[in-house]
Symmetry: C2
């Protein structure tokens, strides 16, 4: 495996799994007849966006304006900035809107409409002072409390029903627009009624993670992102190993959520990533005494992240492989 040559800690992404996860979501949406608008916030890279959009570079969601600009700079269009219009960024939003065929922001307060009307997003469109209601955006974040497909689908159904009821109410007052619901768990196990929506906007499914496997969105085999780390210390007086992945390499997300600590250590179900400093991780067995001969200094361990969005954020570059053969690097955008 060529990844053995990598300097650690390193975020490695199995491109075959990413493609399989992306293709599965595309199939689900085609079958339902809804538009897929994939979210970019987990990876923030061009290459993964190409895989998730099937190469169209159209119809994406982003979580920061920096992402929106990054994708616009690289020929992406029909970008939804899924964020309550930030008053300090109206001018940047307007400028971006003028460069794109379609740029959408979220409004959740009358004051935001006032702000928006001060600087119309499309000067060419005079009606409604350059502001057009495109649709209703819903995120069923409560799917993250689910355990198993049945619970996920119950929330997906509830969210879909409530959204459709709301669309009906809008229709009654003469407003017809799109409806978009999201969350990776609900879109990983869609319910038939979701066919009545205009679009869905999941994001984490490209990489998935341990959290999604615990929820039931995927299996651990679907998780495409891992952190490679090396053993750098033996601490028999504490029955611990030291590894070269601290919170700067995997993030502090997932504290207290897993019996195995901040990650799942692949192939070692008895090991726990107990705690971390900036550049060190402390690993101990769930039970028994560590056999250090199995973990010589310099040997590799593979961490499955609890939350791939948080883990990816810590890495300035992702190492891409296919069946262990390194293919290159993806560079994410950062900032706001």
């Amino acid at each position: 495996c060529a990844s053995i040559a990598l300097s650690t800690p390193a975020l490695v992404v199995d491109v075959d799994k990413v493609k399989r996860n992306a293709e599965r979501m595309i199939q689900y949406c085609q079958k339902l007849g809804v538009q897929l608008r994939p979210h970019m916030k987990t990876h923030k890279t061009l290459e993964c966006a190409d895989i998730m959009t099937g190469g169209s570079r159209r119809c994406i969601v982003v979580s920061t304006l920096a992402e929106a600009c990054f994708y616009a700079d690289h020929g992406f269009d029909d970008i939804l900035y899924a964020y309550s219009l930030p008053f300090d960024k109206v001018e940047r939003c307007a400028a971006l809107s003028e460069r794109l065929d379609l740029f959408q922001v979220l409004l959740d307060h009358p004051d935001a409409l006032v702000q928006l009307k001060k600087r119309p997003l499309k000067e060419a469109i005079s009606e409604a002072a350059g502001v057009e209601l495109t649709g209703v955006y819903v995120h069923c974040g409560n799917t993250y409390n689910c355990r198993g497909v049945e619970q996920i689908q119950a929330v997906a159904q509830e969210t879909t029903s409530l959204t459709l009821q709301f669309m009906e109410k809008l229709k009654c007052v003469g407003i017809t627009c799109k409806s978009s619901i999201g969350s990776t768990p609900s879109c990983s196990h869609p319910v038939p009624d979701m066919a009545k929506l205009s679009e869905v906007h999941p994001g984490n499914y490209a990489f998935y993670d341990v959290q999604q496997s615990v929820i039931g969105s995927c299996s651990l085999e679907d998780v495409a992102a891992r952190v490679l780390t090396r053993v750098i210390g033996h601490c028999p007086h504490r029955n611990q190993l030291l590894i070269d992945c601290g919170w700067s390499g995997i993030s502090l997300d997932g504290a207290g959520k897993l019996p195995t600590g901040y990650a799942v250590i692949e192939g070692h179900p008895n090991l726990k990533l107990l705690s971390m400093t900036q550049e060190h991780g402390r690993v101990e067995p769930l039970s028994g005494v560590l056999d250090y001969s199995k973990f010589p200094l310099g040997s590799l361990l593979t961490l499955l992240p609890y939350h791939s969005c948080a883990t990816a954020m810590m890495h300035p570059v992702y190492h891409i492989h296919s069946e262990g053969r390194l293919l290159g690097k993806w560079t994410p955008t950062r900032g706001w």
Copy 2:
């Protein structure tokens, strides 16, 4: 205040406070007669390194080899890579060593010496196969459990005494070398015996943070790094505000450590940063009902980070100001 013009979330650094914190540490060390070897891991920038080294660009500590290379590329020398020699980075260490007058790595296992001898760090030096013992490096991480100057100084004294005893033992077997102890708490309140050491290597003191103020290393007024954020939502049904700083802007460090949550919200001791998603923070009062008229959408709040090392890691750029006047940006290095 010009920082009002900044797009949020933004890491803002008060350069006057950084200079004052750095100058104070330089004074302490001069008074003790020990060499100050400041740690770069908190900020990872050239500009702050210049302030901490008094412009000498000599005698620093780093936590990653990427930092070591970054500083070497910019004319810094006498760099200590404070990390147990990583077996995957021996060749990069050797290459760096050949570019610098002085490059030091840590050894804490006989196997590491074997690795190092396979690729001497300085080919020109033949004795001991190019490996030279420079000194003993000690980090009193247990100062982070202290509360107040008295406890800090007790740990500083204990660490100093143990280190000096160890140096004596080395001397008895014919080894004379340097001694270096660290931790921002102990160096912020040095004890007289530290004068007997060769050097100290604190780092966090340039920025300080809420954690250091809780320990007693500094006052909240000394904290030089803040995250500017804006109110982006009112949630009266939950008695909460939404702000545009999530864990991508301040990190998840400090969970459960402060009554005010993940940060101290400057000027609002009754507010708590309760929880975060990637790009949203939820703020609620410690008691009573929120008066939303005091927090209109778009208004600024200032977060004092629990752990500035972790918060700085989340930002691709730091905005530098003097008395609120923006002076420019510092760009940190990232990766390993």
